[in-house]
Amino acid sequence: MTQQPVPAATNVEFLRWILRRRARVRIRGDSMKPTLSPGDIVFVDTKAYRDFAPHDGDIVVATHPGEPGLQIIKRVDFTDGEHAYLRSDNRDDPRASDSAQFGLVGFDLLIGKVTACVRA
């Protein structure tokens, strides 16, 4: 799958954040390189999957299926209608773990869709 880049945040996206239509989180770790690097800020649409299922290629923030307190950021490789298979963009990172290790992730664990980023 082509790893589509995350668009840079625009003024509109910042306004959505100010109006609380977007959450804002900071990236930790290398497993989403080169798309996202440690320290990058991303905006997250937490209502994106309320009415619609995720698409292949979406970058999502999700709750780790094995560690409820851990939020992770990964790319949707494919879905089966109820679950998403999440992969890291950086397949060379030996510390990266994704659905290859923790399995399919239920849509209920998806927190939102990444819409834009601000580079570190």
């Binding site: 910042f14 900071r26 930790r28 989403m32 510390r95 990266a96 994704d98 399995g103």
Partner: protein
């Protein structure tokens, strides 16, 4: 204006999301086996429901399902081996004399799930994982319910 916003976005503290997810050492939970076994069952059902693939797109999709089934069955076997060899100790064997046979059979079912595309085998694997779930939590003096994601 954009620079001001970007500066604000970085200066204001934000929650972190992890691109890594290293598991904590010393924490055992058969849920990791269950998640992998459920993925095997899910992929197997999809393959059986889809039937023979006649188009290139369908063949591509099924190849991906098969790859996941293979991968998750292997992961389930690895997670079983961790529980079997690291968590369970000789005193557990006294309480559960069939422990070795239970794990042996579950590991064999992981292999069967790779070799075959059988919902029956995948369901047998889930049943074996449920049995291990019950033994594991009983060994901790707990009665945690068996819950599946799907």
């Amino acid at each position: 204006m954009l620079k001001v916003f970007a500066s604000l976005a970085h200066r204001i503290p934000a929650d972190e999301v992890s691109a890594h997810c290293d598991g904590p050492c010393g924490v055992y939970d058969p849920a990791s086996v269950r998640v992998a076994a459920e993925a095997v069952l899910s992929m197997t059902k999809k393959l059986v429901d889809a039937g023979p693939a006649t188009t290139l797109e369908a063949q591509n999709t099924q190849a991906r399902y098969i790859a996941i089934k293979e991968q998750q069955a292997h992961l389930a076997k690895e997670e079983l081996l961790v529980l079997w060899t690291d968590y369970f100790k000789p005193p557990h064997l006294e309480a559960y004399p069939d422990l070795h046979t239970t794990f042996w059979n579950a590991a064999k079912l992981c292999s069967d799930a790779k070799v075959h595309c059988s919902v029956e085998v995948a369901e047998k694997l889930m049943a074996a994982v449920e049995e291990i779930h019950n033994i594991f939590w009983a060994s901790k003096g707990r009665d945690d319910a068996w819950v599946t994601a799907s």
